[in-house]
C-alpha cells in the first residue's frame, strides 16, 4: 500500500509546476559574469532548461538625455562618444547629422567622405569585437584573442587620425570633421584593410565546434523579429532585407556600391555570418571612398573654431543611421537657445537586450545562453544610456 501511495505521489509531483515541486531555481547571468558587460539576466531554471528569463538592466545608466540638455552641441559631440564604448564614431555621426540637419549646414564634400570612412572603420572594429566576444561566449578563446589583436590595427588608425585610441572626442562634429586626414593616412588605411581581409579568412575557417554550438540555436523568425523591434544584423539574420544606408541614404552612401547581406534561418549561426559579410562590405565601402576622396575643406567655415555662444534655430529633427548594432537615432528638439531643449536617444540594443533576448532565452538549455546572448551583438552602454 505504501508503495502504491508513494508511486501515486511521485506521479503527481511530476505533473506539478517546477516552482511548486521545488526543482526550479534562479541563475544570475551577469552583471559580474566575465564578459556579460554591465548587464544581467535573471534566469529561472528547471534542470537544464531555462523556464523564463528576465533582463536586469540599469548598471550603466548615466543619464545622457539629461546631460545633453545642459551642453552646447559642440560639447555634446564629445559626450556622444560615450553612448557606446565599442563604436563611438558611429554615434558621433548620428549626433552630428542631427545638429547639421537642424541648423541646415552644408557639409564640405571631403568631410562627408571622411565621415563615411571613419564610420565604416568603426563598424569593422565593432564587428570584430562581436566575433571575439561570441567566440569567448562559446568557449573558443583563440578567436577572442585573435580578434582583439586585429582590432588594435584599427585602433592604431584611430590614434593617428583622431588623436585617441578608443574615444575620438567628437571627431565627427557638427559641420564636418575636426581634423583632416594626416599625411600617409590613406596608405595606412589600405594596409590595415589588408590585415582585416586576413582576419576574415581566419573567421571563415569552418569550425565544427562552433557549428554545433550555433546551428539551429536561438531561432528568431522574421515575424517575431519585427514584432519585438529588432533592427540591423539581428533582423537581417532573420531574413529581412533592410538597411538604413540603402533605405534612407545619408552622407554619400547613395553613391557607393555595396550589398546588404541577408541571412535565412534566423539562428545564431546566421547572425554570425552576417557579421563576417558586413566586414567585407565595409572594406569595400572604405576602399571606394578612399578612391573617390576629393580635396578641399573638412569643416564648414563657421565651425572652424568652437564657439561658446551657440545659436540653434527652433525646430525638431529625427535622424536615423545604421550603426554596427542596428538602427540608431537621435530625436532633438531645439527652442532657439544654444542648448537642445530635449534629446531622445534611440539605441538599437534596448530592444535587442530586453524583448528579443527574453524571448529567445525561453526554453533553451543553459549552455546555449551565452551563445544566444553574444550573437545579438550587444552593448550595455548604448542600452542603458
Amino acid at each position: 500500500m505504501t508503495r502504491k501511495m508513494r508511486g501515486k505521489r511521485f506521479t503527481m509531483i511530476d505533473q506539478m509546476e517546477p516552482a511548486l515541486k521545488g526543482t526550479e531555481y534562479d541563475l544570475y547571468f551577469g552583471p559580474a559574469h566575465p564578459g556579460s558587460g554591465n548587464f544581467g539576466v535573471k534566469l529561472k531554471i528547471d534542470g537544464e532548461i531555462v523556464v523564463s528569463a528576465r533582463a536586469d538592466p540599469g548598471y550603466l545608466h548615466r543619464g545622457f538625455e539629461k546631460l545633453m540638455e545642459y551642453r552646447t552641441p559642440i560639447q555634446n559631440a564629445i559626450l556622444s562618444d560615450r553612448l557606446c564604448i565599442l563604436e563611438p564614431l558611429n554615434w558621433n555621426l548620428v549626433h552630428a547629422e542631427a545638429v547639421d540637419e537642424l541648423m541646415g549646414i552644408d557639409i564640405p564634400e571631403r568631410a562627408k567622405y571622411i565621415r563615411v570612412i571613419m564610420a565604416e572603420l568603426s563598424r569593422i572594429q565593432s564587428h570584430i569585437i562581436w566575433y571575439g566576444v561570441f567566440s569567448i561566449g562559446t568557449g573558443f578563446d583563440t578567436g577572442f584573442k585573435m580578434s582583439f589583436g586585429y582590432r588594435d590595427y584599427i585602433l592604431d588608425l584611430f590614434e593617428l587620425i583622431t588623436g585617441g585610441r578608443v574615444y575620438p572626442a567628437g571627431y565627427i562634429c557638427p559641420g564636418g570633421v575636426r581634423r583632416d586626414l594626416p599625411n600617409g593616412a590613406r596608405d595606412k588605411i589600405l594596409k590595415v584593410l589588408d590585415k582585416m581581409e586576413e582576419m576574415i579568412k581566419l573567421e571563415e575557417l569552418e569550425n565544427p565546434a562552433l557549428g554545433a554550438r550555433a546551428k539551429g540555436v536561438g531561432v528568431l523568425k522574421v515575424k517575431d523579429a519585427i514584432r519585438l523591434g529588432a533592427t540591423g544584423p539581428v533582423l537581417r539574420g532573420s531574413g529581412m532585407d533592410t538597411d538604413v544606408r540603402k533605405d534612407e541614404p545619408y552622407e554619400i552612401y547613395d553613391r557607393l556600391d555595396f550589398e546588404v547581406p541577408v541571412g535565412k534561418e534566423g539562428d545564431v549561426y546566421a547572425r554570425y555570418w552576417i557579421g563576417i559579410e558586413e566586414i567585407k562590405q565595409s572594406i569595400k565601402i572604405v576602399k571606394q571612398a578612399l578612391k573617390e576622396l576629393p580635396e578641399g575643406e573638412v569643416i564648414a567655415s563657421n565651425f572652424k573654431k568652437p564657439k561658446i555662444k551657440f545659436k540653434m534655430p527652433e525646430g525638431e529633427v529625427y535622424v536615423r543611421n545604421e550603426i554596427a548594432r542596428g538602427e540608431a537615432a537621435i530625436y532633438m528638439v531645439s527652442d532657439g537657445s544654444g542648448t537642445p531643449y530635449r534629446i531622445k536617444v534611440r539605441g538599437p540594443d534596448f530592444l535587442h537586450m530586453i524583448p528579443v533576448l527574453e524571448y529567445l532565452l525561453k526554453g533553451v538549455q543553459i549552455a546555449d545562453v551565452p551563445a544566444i546572448y553574444w550573437s545579438l551583438n550587444i552593448c550595455p552602454a548604448d542600452m542603458d544610456r
Binding site: 560639447q75 564629445i78 592604431d156 588623436g163 572626442a169
Partner: protein, 126 residues
Amino acid sequence: MKLGILPKLLQNLFSKPMTVKFPHESIPIPDGYRGEHKYDIDKCIGCGLCAEICPNRAIEMVEASKEYKDKYPKKYPKIDLGKCCFCALCEDICPKDSISLTKNVFLSTFDSSNVLKYPMPKNREQ
C-alpha cells in the same frame, strides 16, 4: 581540412607575436595625440574661454600666487586632469595657442594632488 591546420601552425611557430614587450619597447605615439596639457603662461591672456568650453568643467580660472601677482595680474587656468576627458576643445578654442595637448600618456600617480596642474609652481603652497 585535416591538413589545413599544418601550414598555419608552422607559420605561427616562426612569426612574431602581435604584441610588443611594453616597458622595453612601445608602439610610437603619433603626432596630434591628445595627452597631457602643455600650458604657456606667457602667451595666455586670461580670457577664460578654455574654462567655459570645457565639457567636463575640468578647468578653473585661479589667481596667481603672491610672488607672481605683480607679473601676472589676471586669472589663469588650473587644470584638473582627473576630470579631463582629453577632448582638446581648450586647445582648439585658445586664441593665443597657450594650451596644447602633448603626447604624454603616462599620467597615473600615487599622489592625488599631482592630477591638478596649476598655472605656476608656487600656487600649490598657498
